[in-house]
Structure formats: C-alpha cells, structure tokens
Symmetry: C2
Subunit: 457 residues, 2 copies
C-alpha cells in the first residue's frame, strides 16, 4: 500500500497519468512466464525525465518501491511488484531524440522499441542490431543486458549502449558515458547500470551505437545428423574467424513443431539457421567457407535464402518459435532456461539437457544463439500443476549447475529478476556480496525494484 | 611511513621480497611523464594471489596505502605514491596459466606483458590484440582500460577482459565474469574493475579474449594536404563499414621528426598509417576501397606495405614515435594529452589544438588513433621550468574543455591517475559523486591507490 500522502503528491504531479484502477494494476503485475501475478499499487506514465526525477523523489520520501516498465516482455518476473509500490511505465517517453549519422549514434528515450527505432532509421542506411525477438523497449533491453540472434556479431546491450541518463534512488539525475567511442575517465558507470534491472536507478535516456546496414545479406539453413555435429561446425567457424551475423540452433523437437505449425518443411534433425552480413564478395566468401565446414560435419541440404522474402520468412519463423512452441501444448505456460557456456562445451551441455528432459514427463524443445554458447529449453508446464512446475524448476536448476561447472553462467541474456535469484550465490560467490554493497551504497532504503538481482530483507 | 608492526608482518610474510631500500623505492616513485617523484615506503613482490590477499589484509589492518604496479608505463602518475605506503609489484606473478584455444580465451597472471603473452600464443594461431605501444602488463592495461592502435577494430580492454580475480580492500578474494561469451547475471563487476586504476582492489588474475591471427595483413601509408582531408577520409571509411585494424594519424610536425630521426622519407604533410586484417580477398577489397576514398580526399602517394618487414618497420616507427618526439628536444619531458571526441568532430578538435600549440612557445606534435577519435599532443617541456609546465597544462586543459564541449572525454585511454583528477568534475558532474559512493562502499578506509580517480580527504 502506498500511503495517502504519497498518492496525493503523485496525483498532483501526474493527474490522470497516475493509474490506480484494478485492470491497469493487473496488467503490470503479470509475467510472460510462469510467475504468479504480483501487481503494483499504482502505475505512473511520466512524460519526461524531469517528471521521473520528481516521481522517484516522492517515492524516496515515502519509502515506496519503484519499478520500471518497458514493454513487460522480461521472462523472469523482472517488472512484477512482489512488494507492491509504483510501476513507472515508459510508454509516453518514446521519442527518438537525435540521430547522429556521421558518428553512428542515436539518442532515444527509454520507451522506444527496437522495431520503432529501426523504422525511424531506415532512411539513414544505419540500423540498431540488438534483437531479442520480442519488440522490447530499449530501456528494458539495456536493463536486462539483452541480446538475441545478432549478438554473435554485433554484441549485446553491453556493447551497444554508449551512455545513459539516469534518475538515482534519491532523485538525483546523472549522465554516464560520452559520445566518444572510448574513454578511460574513471569507473564505467554505463556498464554498471546496463544489466542492473532497474535496481540502481531508472533510465530516462540512452545513447546507442548504430551500425551500417550491410551491403549484402544472405541466410542459410543446414541440417545435421546430431547436435554434436552442428555444434562442432559452429565452434570451428568461430575459430576460423568467420563472423556470421546469426547462428541459431533448433533441435529436432523444435523442427517437428515448426514443421507442424509453420509448414517449415525441414527434415526432422537438428538444424542451424545462419545469416551473413558484409560486402557482396565478403558474404559469398563467408557463406561458401561455412558450407565447406558444414559438409565436413555431415551437414546436408545447405540451402540458401538470398531473396529478402525468403530471409524474412526464415527469421520470422525463428522469432515466432517461442509462441509456436507454447501453442504446441494449448494452455501451457513456460519456464525458459537461459544458460550460456563456453562454445566448446555446448554440445555436452545441450546433450545432457536433452537427455534429462527426455527422461522427464515434460516437453522442452531447445533452441539457441549457439554462436555465443547460449541456448534455451522451453519447458512447457501447466501453471496450475505444482508437480510440473517443480519438475521444470528441477530441470532448469540442473542445467544451471551443469553450466556453472563448465565455466558458464545461469543466464546469458534474460537476466535474474525473481526467477534466477536463488542461483546468484552459486554463480558469483563472494562477488554477489559486492553487488549487494553497491546496491546498498546507491539505494540504502532499497526502493528500486526490490527483491530483484540482490537479496534484500 | 608504515608503522613498525605492519612492516614486521609484511617482512614475516615476504622475507626479502619486501624491499625498503632507497633505490627500489625511488624506482617505484617515478613517472614516465612530468609528475614529480613520489616514492612508496616499501615495495612488495608477491608470488601468488594468496600472498596478495595477505598483504592487503595487513595493510587494511594498519591503514597502509596499497598501490599496484605493472610495468610503470602509466602516463598520469598512476602508480606513484603521493601518500607513501606499499607498492605491490606484480613482476613475479607473470605466468600464462591456461590457453583455451577452442574458446579463444587465456587465463594469465597480472604481471604478464602483452608481448610475452603474444610470444607464448604464437603457436596457437591466436593473438591478444590490444596494443598500447609500451610493453605494459596486462594487469596495468586492464586497470587503465588501455587501448592503442588496434582498438578501432578489436576494442579496448573493456571489450577484451572476460573476467577477473581480485583482492578487495578488506582482503577478500572475488572472481568476476565467466568463460561464457555473455551473461546477464547481475551487475557487470568486470567492467567496473576494468579502468578503476587499482582504486577498488588488486587484480590477481585475468581471463582475456583472444582473436585469430588474420589470414592476411596489409598496411598502407597515405599523405594528405590537410588534417581535415585526412580526417574526412577516416570518417567516411567508418560510415561505409570498413573495419581497418589500425588507422593512425601523424601530423606534419611528427612527420618532420620521423623523417629526421628515422629516415622515414615521407612528404611533410599529415599522414594516415593503416592496416587491414582479414582473408586475402577481404583485405585486398577493403584496401582498394580505402584507396578510392583517400583519392577522393586528395590523398596522394597511397603506398602499400604487404611484406612483413615493411609492416614491422612502419609500426615500430609508430610505436617509437613518442620516444623519438621526446628525443627531438634533448632533456625534455612530456605532458601528453589524450582527448577523445566523436569522429566527426575530430578535424575541428585537432585543428584548434594545432592552432593553440602553434600560438604557444611549446612544441607539441600530434598523433593519434583517429579511427576512435582519440589523439595525443606530446607537449615538450623542461621539467624544471614552471612556466613551461604551466603553459602545457593550460594547453592541455583547453583541449579537454573543447573535447567535452564536442561530446568527448578528457582521456580516451590513458586514464585519470593524478594528472586528470581536476577534470573529472567537469566531465562527469554528479556522476563523479556516484563513483565516489562506490569507492567508499568498497574501500571505506581509502587504502587502495589513494588520491587517484576519486578525490579523497
Ligand atoms: C518471445 C520472447 C522472446 C525473447 N527472446 C529474447 C532474446 O532472444 N534475447 C533476450 O535478451 N531477451 C529475450 N526475451 C526477453 C525480453 O524481451 C528482454 O528481457 C527485454 O530486454 C525486456 O524488455 P522490456 O522492454 O519488455 O522490459 P520489461 O520486461 O518491461 O522490464 C525488464 C526489466 O527492466 C526494467 N526496466 C524497464 N525499463 C526500465 C527503465 N527505463 N529504467 C530502468 N529499468 C527499466 C524493469 O524494471 C525490469 O526489471 C524474450 C522475451 C519473449 C517474450
Ligand atoms: C611510450 C608510451 C606509449 C603509450 N601508448 C599508449 C597507448 O597507445 N594506449 C594506451 O592505452 N596507453 C598507452 N600508454 C600508457 C600505458 O602503457 C598504459 O596506461 C598501460 O596500461 C599501463 O600498464 P602498466 O603495466 O605499465 O601499468 P602501471 O603504470 O604499472 O600501472 C597503471 C595503473 O594500474 C594500476 N595497476 C597495475 N597493476 C595492477 C593490478 N594488478 N591490479 C590493480 N591495479 C593495478 C596501478 O596502480 C596504476 O594505477 C603509453 C605509455 C608509454 C610510455
């Protein structure tokens, strides 16, 4: 519950851009995945950074939890409100503020989505490459250190956020980073706030790196007899210095579902989906070299998609895969794993996961960004069946334990939120305590997205 | 002064690996540049991480300042001891611990130098690309977020450190990062410690990214009539998506010095020195495209160096340039500026710097990593002439003020140390206060490299 004085102060500031009705609170309490609903007490729709600073100031004075909200596509209950409080929805802060074509930078408000940004950029010959599939907000993507299919070439949000404007838990506004390509001027606050999931402050503006739209693009699909063969081709490609823009893996179960739902028409074996970016000659050369590698590993049916429609069809099938898999068990929800391991250990990690899922009563198709060593098992569960939820969590925790033993991480791109909090001690050891020290230094009252990333009392 | 009990505890731990003699203290009090000597009270040579933790534990109990020392090539008085204390020299922690060829990673102790690492890697077909010219230690390079000639393609230490082992100011040991290519598991502590100049803890181990040695390399030299023309060629190359491994600028004054000292035989105009890495076809294609661009901007005498000896000669001349310039005024020392600006503003920034230096009584040849927007004026001063030092500082501060107005940074790669501390408020505003909060949270007694990066009482 927000005390009346705080509600009044927020109401005076925001008028009807403060919502306290049931339906809007419920909308902001939901999760894309299995987490039970946890609505906030109210939702604010600020229209500029100054308003955000005032909102946070009010919440700080009254000890009200503050939770940022981009588009709510986070998979670990990131933007839910386990302690109530105020959700700050950035819907009305969605302007592209400045395109700096020459320096390949853009300044945006946090509510801009990646699709909206790329639409706005189309005329410039530049693009923002980070692509988590969902049409997420850039503020949300920065906050979870998102990546997706193209990170293998263009990097993650860690690599593509040049600077931030932030409102801190005490209401102060700061700017981090510069427009220069690099700096050694003190601690890297930009990197500290990217991936902090709104627990250290709210992002009110981002300066992002852009990349030239490649001269030539070509995509390919290739089937392999085994997962190991597919992964060996990936590992060797990376070692040869090939720089594909995308290398996605889909397992046999995923292919079966895509064939059934999407008429994909693929042989039912593990597949790689690839894309190459570059000059015409460069793309042809890389694609040919990958083709040879694939053949050496028994890859078959290496098919090309150079026409834009074919490519679009391929990637929209890949991007819809999560929902296609969900729909394969009507009414189901998902626990989505997200481990990331050194690429050389990927065959082993996926092999073990497949075996454990096969030995369980659950379906769990696997797909992933294997050029980065990152894959997801979409464990399909009935939200109302505690035994299924428990089984999926057991499978997920076993995958994480295995990934950590291989030198990997519990989460390659989705983040911690509520769902991965119990794994942080195992992953970081004493370093998790250091994260806690930073959290307490910047947010001593613990008002920013409480309960996420760091364990608080 | 270190109190006797602390010296005794250190002596018991280290035996004759604790040095308190004048000459060794003096050696660790010097700076590569104009800063007056500031020796520590003692120098420790630990042999492993466990000893480092014990050393820091002793210093914490007795309030002794602790200063890391790699090879002492930092340019801003980074490793000097303005408050005395203990310098921890990592000379005896210089082992390459593990090469993970398949995952293109290497685990090293902090005292390994970049040349030693690359020598060790030669047989693997992999390389560590970050190249600050000096044969610095990897611990020092991580601590200053170093970069150099190849950052335009391979990134800086920010991009090439995958994980760290650290001893914190209270003696605890933590590990940050994983062997996976990406992670969203909480705050990015690796990025926080990279560039923290030993003010938050000592690095006792690094996991670094490696890159395949390119199949083909070719270098080129090209003269331009004006700085603006050279910089325009650079800007357009970046916008076209060309990815040279090096694009270095040398001004007319630098060329004159190189001609005189090194028989460089170049026309006395601004020049670009370039290198391309890739497949044979890729390199030829990129080089040809750059050649066309250069010609459009009046570039002349675009000369190729494909034979290894020619390339080596070119880059060793470039790497020696700092010392060649120093030697052009016998007995002089240097104040080296390090601003970095958006690439589109580089012509303007260099033009203004050249004009201001020309109007001053000092010589200050300019050279830089212009693909990143980073350049250095080597302001030659007589260490014993306060008027010259003051003049050079005035020129340097003016360049920084101009760079900040253009959206740049006071230091692209050298770091803050003592020499740039007075500029941090102007660059960061309130964000500098946040750096101070983090410093106080992790190092409440202020024992780690006091007086650097953050202002302490
Ligand atoms: C079908 C599907 C596929 C997906 N695939 C991928 C994928 O391939 N790669 C990937 O990385 N992710 C993926 N995701 C996860 C999700 O898209 C990302 O986590 C995304 O970054 C969330 O963005 P959002 O705008 O929806 O943020 P939200 O879910 O609204 O919020 C995410 C977190 O950021 C915080 N936050 C939001 N805005 C701000 C702000 N302005 N300031 C401070 N904190 C803020 C929230 O409090 C919360 O903690 C997928 C999700 C779905 C549903
Ligand atoms: C001729 C010349 C050219 C140069 N060119 C470049 C260039 O192109 N690009 C560039 O980036 N730099 C350049 N530099 C600067 C210098 O080489 C870099 O700053 C380098 O990173 C310093 O490494 P070092 O091992 O000498 O560190 P040191 O000078 O010994 O220390 C640097 C800082 O790191 C700290 N430190 C050292 N080791 C550790 C550790 N293990 N744990 C914690 N803290 C530690 C020290 O306390 C100090 O604050 C140049 C220097 C010279 C002399």
């Amino acid at each position: 519950m927000i005390e009346a004085a705080a509600t009044k102060a927020l109401r005076d500031l925001l008028g009807d851009r403060l919502a306290t009705g049931r339906s809007e609170r419920d909308l902001h309490g939901r999760s894309e995945t299995w987490h039970a609903p946890m609505p906030p007490d109210a939702v604010a729709y600020p229209k500029d950074a100054d308003e955000v600073a005032r909102i946070v100031g009010i919440c700080a004075r009254h000890g009200v939890p503050v939770i940022g909200w981009g588009t709510g596509t986070g998979l670990e209950g990131h933007a839910q409100a386990p302690r109530g409080g105020l959700t700050v929805n950035f819907r009305d802060m969605a302007a592209v503020l400045e395109v700096m074509e020459g320096d390949m930078l853009v300044r945006v408000q946090p509510g801009v989505t990646r699709e909206a940004l790329n639409a706005e950029l189309r005329a410039t010959g530049l693009m923002f490459p980070v692509d988590p599939g969902a049409n997420a907000s850039l503020g949300g993507m920065a906050s979870t250190r998102a990546s997706g299919t193209t990170a293998v070439r263009y990097g993650t949000m860690r690599d593509n956020v040049r600077g931030l404007e932030l409102v801190l838990p005490d209401g102060r506004t700061i700017r981090t980073g510069t427009r220069a390509r690099k700096s050694s001027a003190g601690y890297d606050l930009t990197a500290l706030f990217v991936g902090s999931e709104g627990t250290l402050g709210l992002i009110t503006e981002l300066t992002l790196r852009l990349h030239p739209i490649p001269e030539a693009i070509s995509a390919a699909v290739c089937g392999f007899r085994t997962t190991d063969a597919a992964i060996s081709a990936v590992t060797e490609a990376m070692q040869m210095g090939l720089a594909p823009a995308r290398i996605e893996y889909v397992d046999r179960a995923t292919v079966a579902i895509l064939n059934a739902a999407d008429a994909a028409g693929l042989p039912e074996t593990p597949h790689l989906l690839l894309e190459f970016h570059g000059s015409g000659a460069g793309v042809a050369d890389e694609a040919a070299r990958f083709g040879e590698l694939a053949a050496e590993h028994g890859g078959s049916d290496y098919r090309w998609a150079t026409r834009p429609e074919e490519r679009t069809r391929l990637w929209s099938m890949r991007h819809r895969a999560y929902h296609t898999i969900l729909a394969s068990r009507p009414g189901a929800t998902a626990i989505v794993t997200d481990v990331c391991v050194p690429v050389t250990r990927l065959g082993e990690a996926i092999g073990q996961a497949e075996a454990e899922i096969a030995a369980s009563p659950l379906a769990g198709p696997i797909l992933g960004h294997v050029g980065d060593g990152n894959y997801h098992a979409i464990l399909l569960v009935d939200r109302d069946d505690p035994a299924e939820i428990a089984c999926a969590k057991r499978l997920s925790d076993a995958m994480v334990a295995h990934a950590l033993a291989l030198g990997g991480t519990a989460t390659g791109e989705h983040g911690v939120g509520l769902g991965k909090l119990h794994l942080m001690e195992a992953e970081h050891g004493a370093a998790w305590g250091v994260m806690g020290q930073i959290k307490r230094a910047l947010d001593p009252e613990g008002i920013m997205n409480p309960g996420k990333v760091i364990r608080q009392n």
